[in-house]
Amino acid sequence: MTTPYDILIIGSGPGGYVTAIRAAQLGFKTAVVEREHLGGICLNWGCIPTKALLRSAEILHYAQHPDAYGLKIEGKVSPDATAIVKRSRGVSQQLNGGVGFLLKKNKVDVIWGEATISKVGEVTVAATKKAPMLPQNPIPKGVLGAGVYSAKHIIVATGARPRVLPGIEPDGKLIWTYFEAMVPPAFPKSMVVMGSGAIGIEFASFYKAMGVDVTVIEVLPQIMPVEDAEIAGVARKRFEKLGLKIMTSTKVTKVEKSANEVTCHIEDDKGVKQTIKAERLISAVGVVGNIENLGLEKLGVKTDRGCIVIDGFGRTNVPGVYAIGDVAGPPMLAHKAEHEGVICVEAIKGLHPHPMDKLMIPGCTYCHPQVASVGLTEAKAKEAGYTLKVGRFPFIGNGKAIALGEPDGLVKTIFDAKTGKLLGAHMVGAEVTELIQGFVIAMNLETTEEDLMYSVFPHPTLSEMMHESVLDAYGKVIHT
């Protein structure tokens, strides 16, 4: 038994490692337990490597349309699955090493293995069952091994994993999750993507760009169901123009597998049945929290629908046990996990952080075109009883967008008519994931429409559309 830690974090994903660094900064003796890869899913199998893949897709798209920019490319530009995957893995590897460096720099102990909370204040770590992924994710040097560790505060940051639909279990060959979709040995000719959330639509976008015949099947009437309906509608039109097949209000009822093909039996909301054949099926029907084998049941830690129940400061119902990130419930986003972790340890320190306001958490999807949003959708704002002022500005009215050759998209802003409070902002189009932060700050600072109108936006930029959208909500728009 080693000296007790102040804070021990289970999981080194974006929530866990950021929490560990913040805890160390606050003077806590801190350790983090990891069983397979520093940086978690986000960095190794999620956010980061998909962005690398999508960057390849984007460049391929431009290379295939040189004439649109007055260029000529002699010869053929074609994707190389192996090289694209290699680049993506390299990006993960670099950042994975970076996390190890940051933890070491902050004197956070890394314990390698599978953790179980044996009792309040004590974590038992067993040797990991998962082999290190070589070469890109080796076991870092200088880590501690299996054993019993005590800690005053234990923070569960074990993240989530793909949800599995019964009968459509991923097999790693024909039915993929994001793990297999991230490292295709070659591009299949055809593919069905089940689920149109961020993960499904990003992979659909990527594989479509790579020349794969992609069909997206969504059980709800709208793709990207958490997004504003109007924005999702604009995105859908654009996807379909790029050749993506989309079927909404449709569910996959059965999947039959043959040697190198799946047959999906699908049924729409009117009961019309049909089958679709494709070489691969990606199951992207959401994620569920990793709450198993942690000893939570024995401790009596309260869970709800596969996630640990916490208060605004990451506290569970059991004193001394905390949870943050995906395992603590939606929205399952890396930036939400990081923030929850920081709030959690600052509260333990006795600082007075503000509890998480989930309405202020932006969401970004890096499909083509991109989608980004923060706050309430128009429908949710109406549901909440607000009288609305809604502003819209299309990309076609923006000089920079035209110069970029990106005339498709929309920036939409939603205000409370009574107070001028910015309730939500929703965007679809080029680079909107980089723009949304302007509105996030505006909402956090509680600006009204007036402050946004008074702000000077640089010309020529895409950000001018944010200004114009606000002006439009109050009947002052210039460029439409």
């Binding site: 001028g420 409070k421 509680e446 600006t447 009204t448």
Partner: protein, 435 residues
């Protein structure tokens, strides 16, 4: 130009009031000086008077609206020659731009005008900038709240939407707590719903708070939790006083209806004795403020008067200069008007010390909560016959126990003891009050 009628501040401390009823209807002609509406504050009912001739064009805040913040627009008058309908439809211009001062006068007294000034766009906070989010500023402005009186919970104490909303629902712009208090985690108090769940709804009657109850709750919670109280108790032999009282009352001249010109009570002696004691111990005749101690020249003694649904503390001003008969008659007038809730704010605001007497209920001894800006309060019990030791032998005397609550910030223990000791000396030797 249309004239905005704003919720008047009937006293310097008034934050909001209830609009009891309109005395004019939309379309009624009004002349300057006409009573337009009745405003009910925590302790009094007053009338809002028109400052100009015109027609009542629009009623913005309806009869019976509770907790209307000071300076909120309550109605609009169309000036002579203006189309009342157009004025009503167009609404009034922004209050800050065009608000004409509305003079509020107590309903029952000669004009003592209190002018409701429009809210300045950026309220001064001891001259310093108030940090508030744009949204918080706008909601506060629309609700007529003074941001300077709201404590912020945002980064670096910045006032955010939540704080303004809490101030609106929690009763006007609250006085900002001291930084230390603001940072201390609030003691978990039971929510209304949690409390109600403890009882069967069939087995109680729910009585909503009226404005007086809210004021009592707010002020005394604040007083009890922010003022460091300490208590001093003394027994007073009042046999001499009782004899003097009888003689004084017997000597009262009678009018043609055989009514005596005055009837002095024991409490009037107590008020007078406390007033004189405050003069003899002037360091205890004080008010505490954050920056200084206000040492008063005269003895303004508040007297707690129980009225249906609450209590009020009218003040005998310069009580040390007044005779017992004058004090007796003033108290009688206060008590009558207090029960009708017709006291003027200046009659119950201020004071340096106070008297609370529960002797008539047979209470032997109790302690009272200081009512700021006062720095002490004397809790007086019943005069009762007790066996005491006099000159080494048991004897029967009429004894009245008095307990002084002191604010320890301006009044230290020895100082409080000097005050109470001076009081005892006077109450036991009432002739001393005459000189």
């Amino acid at each position: 130009m249309p004239i905005n009628i704003l919720m008047p501040a009937l006293s310097p401390t008034m934050e909001k009031g209830n609009l009891a009823r309109w005395l004019k209807k939309v379309g009624d002609k009004v002349k300057a000086g006409d009573a337009l509406a009745e405003i009910e504050t925590d302790k009094a009912t007053m009338e809002v008077e028109s400052v100009d001739d015109g027609v009542l064009a629009k009623i913005v805040v309806a009869d019976g609206t509770a907790d209307v913040p000071v300076n909120q627009l309550i109605g609009v008058i169309a000036s002579e020659g203006e189309d009342a309908k157009a004025v009503a439809a167009g609404g009034a211009p922004a209050p800050a731009a065009a608000a004409a001062p509305v003079v509020a006068t107590p309903a029952s007294a000669a004009p003592a005008p209190v002018v409701a000034a429009p809210v300045p766009a950026a309220p001064a906070h001891n001259g310093a900038r108030v940090f508030a989010s744009p949204l918080a500023r706008r909601i506060a402005r629309d609700s007529g709240l003074d941001l300077a009186k709201i404590s912020g919970t945002g980064p670096h104490g910045r006032i955010v939407e939540k704080d303004v909303k809490a101030a609106i629902s929690g009763g006007g712009a609250k006085a900002a707590p001291t930084p230390a208090a603001a940072r201390a985690p609030a003691a978990p108090s039971m929510s209304e719903d949690m409390t109600k769940k403890l009882f069967d709804p069939a087995l109680y009657e729910e009585i909503p708070h009226d404005s007086m109850r809210k004021t009592i709750a707010r002020r005394l919670t604040e007083a009890a939790s922010t003022i460091p109280h300490f208590y001093l108790t003394v027994d007073c032999d009042i046999d001499v006083l009782l004899a003097a009282r009888e003689a004084i009352n017997a000597a009262a001249p009678k009018n043609k209806d055989k009514q005596p010109a005055y009837k002095v009570s024991v409490n009037d002696f107590v008020v007078k004795a406390l007033a004189v004691a405050l003069q003899r111990v002037p360091d205890a005749n004080v008010t505490w403020t954050e920056g200084s101690i206000l040492k008063h020249k005269h003895s303004d003694v508040a007297v707690a008067v129980s009225i249906p649904g609450g209590l009020i503390t009218p003040i005998i001003r310069k009580a040390e200069t007044k005779g017992l008969a004058a004090i007796a008659n003033e108290m009688k007038d206060f008590a009558t008007r207090a029960k009708e809730r017709k006291l003027k704010p200046e009659e119950y605001q201020g004071g340096a010390s106070a008297v609370s007497n529960l002797g008539m209920f047979g209470m032997k001894n109790f302690t009272a909560v200081i009512n700021p800006p006062q720095s002490s309060i004397l809790a007086v019990g019943a005069g009762e016959q007790r066996v005491v030791v006099k000159k080494g032998a048991p004897a029967v005397a009429t004894i009245m126990t008095a307990t002084l609550s002191c604010d320890h910030r301006p009044i230290d223990g020895a100082l409080g003891a000097q005050l109470l000791s001076a009081f005892k000396q006077l109450i036991e030797n009432p002739m001393g009050m005459l000189v």
